[in-house]
């Protein structure tokens, strides 16, 4: 009835080394391409969540504990669990795209870009759920 796998949606990763991590769909390919003949999506997610902060911590400590490690990956839809949340971070599509996986330097650069965007959003205090570690 309604398609809900759309860019901007928060998604849980179910398989692979980032399983249990929350990610945002950047680009969605429903019908598949020749080298991936299944519906898949490019997601940018959080590998290491920012740590818990308390009022008693000093500025330096807070800065250290607010660090986010991100990842960018292409996943089959069946390895993602969609949620009802969505986050509208303007992830730059020219930087984060599927061509990124050709080389490690390019991939690293993309992950840096995602990391910067995520940290900015985390500091504003919006979309709290996305930056919380999933407990299971």
């Amino acid at each position: 009835m309604g398609k809900f796998m759309k860019p901007g949606k928060v998604v849980l990763v179910l398989a692979g080394c980032y399983s249990g991590c929350k990610a945002i769909m950047v680009k969605n390919i429903d019908d598949g391409t020749s080298d991936r003949p299944y519906s898949h999506a490019l997601v940018a997610g959080i590998d290491c969540y920012p740590r818990k902060l308390t009022a008693a911590m000093g500025k330096k400590k807070i800065a250290k504990r607010s660090k986010i490690k991100s990842f960018v990956k292409v996943y089959n839809h069946s390895h993602l669990m969609p949620t009802r949340y969505s986050v509208d971070i303007p992830l730059d599509k020219t930087v984060i795209n599927k061509g990124v996986f050709r080389g490690p330097a390019l991939k690293h650069k993309t992950q840096q870009e995602a990391k910067v965007e995520f940290e900015e959003r985390y500091k504003t205090g919006k979309n709290k759920w996305f930056f919380q570690k999933l407990w299971f």
């Binding site: 809900f4 519906s39 069946s78 009802r84």
Partner: protein, 110 residues
Amino acid sequence: FIAWLLKKMKKSLVSINSRLQLIMKSGKYVLGYKQTLKVIRQGKVKLVMLANNCPTLRKSKIGYCAMLAKTGVRYYSGNNIELDTVCRKYCRVCDSDIIRSMPDRLVKSK
């Protein structure tokens, strides 16, 4: 009173059964957990039917995805074995996802 209630339930079950058989014959449907999820994700589903002995985790997952896709979920009052005999397949059907290609007739009569 209880006898009447049972009879009423039985009657509704019978009518669901006949609807399901109609869909099996002439509608579009998909059976099974994995395929159901796949089709829900694509947004092509009008209704999902789940057997009553579907494991709760699975039931929740399908329910959640269906909620996201704004699809209805119906709980069949029978077992998966019964669901299978209704669908006339020779295997157990735990959750059948039925895509109705003839929505008007079926939905109206429900």
